[in-house]
Symmetry: C3
């Protein structure tokens, strides 16, 4: 606000677990699209602050992103170019599973290097305050990206978790997020789920079929959440606490064989 | 902000307990009057999201409210028309104690039905994002209420908790809110309390008289809080933890008989 | 916003522990300088609300402050005039260690007394809402300070904690803040620390030397944090939990004698 008094500043979340780059990446994935076109998103989940890690500025067709080069933009890049970060049937270990991915066409990527646009002195522990925010302000005032840093052609990404689907059509999904209500959000998307009668298994419990809403199912229920991913919820309760499950744990979807109710495949 | 870049968006609270419609209703009651005239208040405590519950748009003499039809506007309506939700000497069970109440004169009420003003696609689990917020934006830009939905003449309300006052003048109040400091806010209003020497009982402890401020009483004290309700507080401490009391529990006010200190009525 | 629709309102923190005037003072000290010149900072950590305590309005060379006269502006005043609140080699007990300090030159100080600029009726428990915020709004609209209250020449301050440095050069510091990551921020400033090989002791653990960043040290590390104070951190962990330390506890810095690694002084 010292540089651009007209900027509208919105906090998406202050509840990311410390150093949890994956959680930040997933939340950004589910939130950024609901902001106005041209929004500058600043991501300050940055356990490597002050080390040699680069700071990225990305321009995608609808938004800008300023973030450390630690994988936190993996979902954003996968939305544009699913190939950049091939999905794997497992949950990523960070930072071990990071690899270089090529910046897809349609995206401009820079590493911030021009200290002229940074607050001085720059601390070694809070680049969000000293670099990310001032650069975002200058960008919002029209400074060209090419003045802020240097073009890069590849960035660090992690493999996006995706469900494993067996030959028999059994879907082995992963919990990727536990929301503030304790709902267990999985990596299984609406389009991954076959039609027909389903059994969803989580933490030793079984749920029959998808519910249309939180209030329509039984005590334990599964539904397609507001970001298009299947989640397991406890009616007026906390599914994570009740099932003792968390991020990385499995949720399995089976299709009922033959007629309804005659057994499980 | 995508629809109305000039909107000023203020978050009242992100600390409502999940599904706690009563807590949301009480907080709204104590906060809305301090916002500018014409403010649009959006209430997204909505355990029935995606079910058949209606979404309400109310225009009162000083403000607009967009909320699910689940009783969360009961206090707002009772401020305008105390008769709509007769107080009862008990704490409401929700949703069991909901009933239909007539919209009072001076209030315009609509059910949101015109999907043209909603974000598409509409999820079944997050109408705050997909319906409430876009409708509020259109309303702020001057779209007439009659275009957004259809007039309704009655809405769901719960009975507002009120203290029971016995023939002998003993006031049986209820704790309706525990604030962030652990103060126990009751349904006893300043005007319910007789003058004279009082004994306030809560959780087996007795407090003598009302204090003018948090720092003026003893270790445990009672005073009229900033919303006009009597509360029980622990000096520089947490009354809820110290007394083991919470929402729905009793607080009793007795008037001392005769001269000061000569006994309890 | 009812009085000044153009005001930009930013929340610094809602996470101050109840009644913790020292924590509020320290956070204000580390945050205020990053706001635009002329910002009006409102501090509502006010356990004495409704008592006879004064409400202060300070104008410093770069900002305004509205706060109760309970010591919460001690660091602000010490930044301008280190002499006003002599540092002592101990952690202050509040409110016992409060004393009157003279307002330094370059600072204008008023006690808010003109109820014409307050919201009516004024509660006895929430002056932030009824006095501080309306006065800030009027001030932002150009009302002269002299209309809002009366000049005062001294205010309550506590002694700023400072490390004790022994004849042998051993630095006995205090933990003054535990941040949201569990990092232990001390009162030892970068300029207090001698060059050379250091051993930092905290909670029975020893750390060798200062790290350039959180990711550069060992499992337990010490560094100069973003506000210029030395802090002890656990790599990707919570130092406060791991060491069982908190505000007021000791951190000791010794210089290694002679050659590197040949023993502790």
């Amino acid at each position: 606000m010292s540089l651009n008094r007209q900027a509208a500043i919105v906090d998406i979340s202050h509840s990311i677990r410390p150093q949890d780059v994956f959680q930040a990446a997933f939340l950004l994935h589910t939130a950024w699209g609901y902001f106005p076109e041209g929004t500058i998103h600043i991501v300050v989940v940055d356990p490597g602050v002050g080390s040699g890690r680069r700071i990225l500025l990305l321009k995608t067709p609808r938004a800008y992103f300023i973030a450390p080069d630690n994988g936190v933009l993996s979902y954003i890049l996968a939305e544009i170019s699913p190939g950049i970060v091939k999905g794997e049937a497992s949950f990523p270990e960070l930072p071990d599973d990071l690899r270089m991915g090529e910046v897809p066409s349609g995206v401009e990527a820079y590493a911030l290097t021009n200290a002229r646009f940074w607050r001085q002195p720059v601390s070694s522990t809070f680049h969000g305050r000293d670099i990310f925010a001032p650069v975002a302000a200058h960008l919002s005032l029209g400074v060209p990206m090419a003045e802020l840093g240097e073009v890069v052609s590849s960035v660090l990404v992690f493999p996006i978790p995706r469900p494993l689907i067996t030959d028999k059509g059994i879907i082995h999904g992963h919990i990727v997020h536990v929301d503030g209500f304790g709902n267990l959000v999985t990596d299984v998307r609406a389009e991954d789920i076959p039609s027909g009668n389903l059994i969803i298994e989580a933490g030793g419990h079984r749920v029959r079929g998808l519910s249309p809403s939180y209030s329509a199912g039984g005590e334990l229920l599964a539904l397609i959440g507001s970001s298009g991913y299947m989640e397991v919820a406890a009616k007026n309760g906390n599914a994570a606490e009740r099932l003792g499950l968390g991020v990385g744990d499995a949720v399995i979807i089976r299709k009922l064989r033959g007629g309804q109710g005659c057994g499980y495949s």
